[in-house]
Amino acid sequence: MHIVDRRLNPGGKSLVNRQRFLRRAKALVQQAVRDSLKDRSIKELEQEGEVSIARDEVHEPTFRRAPSGGDRDYILPGNREYLQGDEIERPPSGAAGTGGYQGDGEDEFRFVLSREEFLDLFLEDLELPELAKKRLATAEVQGVRQAGYATSGSPSALSIGRTMRNSLSRRIALGRPRSAEMLRLEEEIAQLEALPGDHADEIAKLREELERLERRRKLISYIDPIDLRYRRFEPTPRPISQAVMFCLMDVSGSMTEHMKDLAKSFYALLHLFLKRCYRHVEVVFIRHTDRAEEVDEETFFYSRETGGTLVSTALEKMLQVMKDRYSPVDWNIYVAQASDGDNMPSDTARTIALMTGEILPAAQYVAYLEVGREEDPMMAMGGPLARASDLWRAYGQIEEADGKFVMRKVHHRREIYPVFRELFARRGMAERGQKA
């Protein structure tokens, strides 16, 4: 009998088959990932999660007898009251008896996607270029830094300077005979031997001395294991840097579900990106109509408000929150604003003033996303007929003036990425920001 320990065998034997399954059901899984984005909060995007697809599409058919119809016999245990010849009412189909096991789980196939698989499918849908996908999907490497010396380590980490210093001080302290001294003695002996006359006594004495020194030299080695010093490295977290992401959104009646969905994808992507750059990312949701309030994510995306539109209220609210909780000294500030572009004309001046005067100086990056309906004939043509919105025109002035500000119009999910390219192009800045 053999006992074999297979636990250390490489795992993931089913990985190939799993990938093949995902490839086969790709269109469905992608749709499922997109749908599940609705149920996920922005912060949870990166986690593994359950998705479900229609079972029918991945069904493996076989010739089998139909589950109902025809004459059948059942043998059952646990008879209590029945006698031969009794009649039992037929259970409503699919409810009881054998049908009870074909409940609601039948038409849906649910499974868990790992974090990587989920991200892959999500990012692919946004039509990110390969490089960007890779950056987002691979986990960050923790840095190492030198942290003093250790008495053990790998040969490559041997610190020669430090080791020699130890060796030297030990040799001095223990009085290891120096080679110059040995040389001197040998010369003396040689001289004495060369001299005529009987110096046997002296020579013997010197020889004895030489022998003693040699013994001592052997005992006190040039480099002893005790001298060895290795450079010690320890994994070090990247310098603590934190970012806060302000999501501003117009929630007045004119924003449709589709627009909110676009905004959510954008926020999710931005959050993902920030998480790569910063150790700690917080998200603040501010929604506004003609007044603004800070809300949780659920309310932010799914509750409806009515009222006019005053963008400046949201900016004020944001500045308020910033002042209270997120000082620009300690936090990297990112602002993402989504709107369909409506604003009261009277409010424009104040909006611009707030944006240029207070927000832009404090923020790392401000993105304004103007979301539109999926099929907007005016926008699609992009011709002169497309009337720029109030907010668009107002912000237009800022964009030219300041590089931190990016604005884009988005009608479709695939257009979200171009907005992002700006951000990646600016990655250098983001990295500088975190080191600061």
Binding site: N9, Y82, G85
Partner: protein
Amino acid sequence: MTTTLADKPLYEGSDWTFDTIQRIYDTVERVAAEELGLDTYPNQIEVITAEQMLDAYSATGMPLLYNHWSFGKQFLVNEMLYRKGQRGLAYELVINSDPCINYIMEENSATMQTLVIAHAAFGHNHFFKNNYLFQQWTDAEGILDYLEFAKRYIASCEERHGQLQVERLLDACHALSHQGVHRYPRASARDLKAELARENQRHAQREREYNDLWRTLPKRRAKKAEPASERALALNLPQENILYFLEKSAPRLAPWQREILRITRVLAQYFYPQGQTKVMNEGAACYVHYRIMTALHERGHITEGAFLEFLTSHTNVVSQPMFDSGRYGGLNPYWVGYNMMQDIARVCTAPTEEDRAWFPDIAGGGDVEGTLKHIWANYRDESFISQFLSPRLMRSWRMFKVADREKDEALRVDAIHDERGYREIRRALARQYDVSWQEPDIQIVDVDLAGDRKLVLEHYVTNGVQLAEKDAVRVVQHLADLWGYEVTLNEVDNDSRSALREHKARPRESGPRLADG
């Protein structure tokens, strides 16, 4: 029997080491030999993690199998169930091979390891080695080599012909794999090891015979269509092994496609006995582990606590919810099998008058082990139940038979556990375990190779139970893709011979392909 108490139990607590496993195995082996005299393949015990167990699950329990998306799907299903805690993982998995490979989970306690060694390494192992179905249809020695060959062959096909092509073909093969077994022994048993050599030989022969001149011969005038009977004779029709027929006679398959058909067919055949002996196999293994664990306890090899732990999991395994308990999900094969084995042991040693009347051959024979081993070797579920289910068990299970007739409004209780009902219940239960009754009876009845090459199949409908329609349509499509020409499947009533339904399909372009592109 003189039992000397062991000085010291094999283990204390639930922790184990490889040394413990070795000692447990040795003791169990000794006890098994003394108590039961089992005849087993040599064992190989492999300790695996939960994740590896999931891997093994999704590959139908085989240690290595070719790649296909359906195994990935299986993996995801199992993973989901496991994570949600809806289903625990098996404590062990055993492969019918020589040496017999037993997978045991690392998180089992020492008692569970003892139990699974007794259950799998001795119970199942003995059954695999001795049951006539396994002897007839499987080659324990060659299966691992064959799997290795299959995996390599299919991988090389993927390289040569593209993953998609192979995947489509495998989809079609899997759909037909239940119709890919020989149900009755015909030629001599297949020697799996020789398969590879034979395939190479076949290739060489074909290459030798190849001559481009054949192409240039003038075509003969088409002959008159032969009458069906002669054709049937020539093609060995009717044929119920559809994959076999396609492998040998499908006109448009490439050699590598035939070989893959053959691989899926051989694997289906390998698993065929397992489906027919579920009750007996588990029953035998449960009976063996119960006897061994009890003996270990009596001899002081395991502590009282360990024995109680064993009893708890044993009871869980062989439990059966009653039909109206709300948890009923069919008969538990462990429960049926284990109780029948215990009952046979009782009939051998302490029969009642009734037992003597029902089982004159074994009642009071006294040789429990001999009787059981004879049964394990020579029966399958259907014959086992139809001969050994005793009235006493039917009474204690309070079994009854419900007839569901299509034309009647209500269900009818046909028989209950009384003098008039025993034989009826036993017959009906045995029939439930009869694969030839459970699987639809589908046969290839006609094909006109000289004419339009239409393949005609018939499904003989018994008791009015037709094929599940959606599935049937898809499988017929797969079949048409493999055959390369039109295929018709007629559902025919077995008694009246009247046609009930017809499924037709024409091959899609470029051979077997995905369900919906």
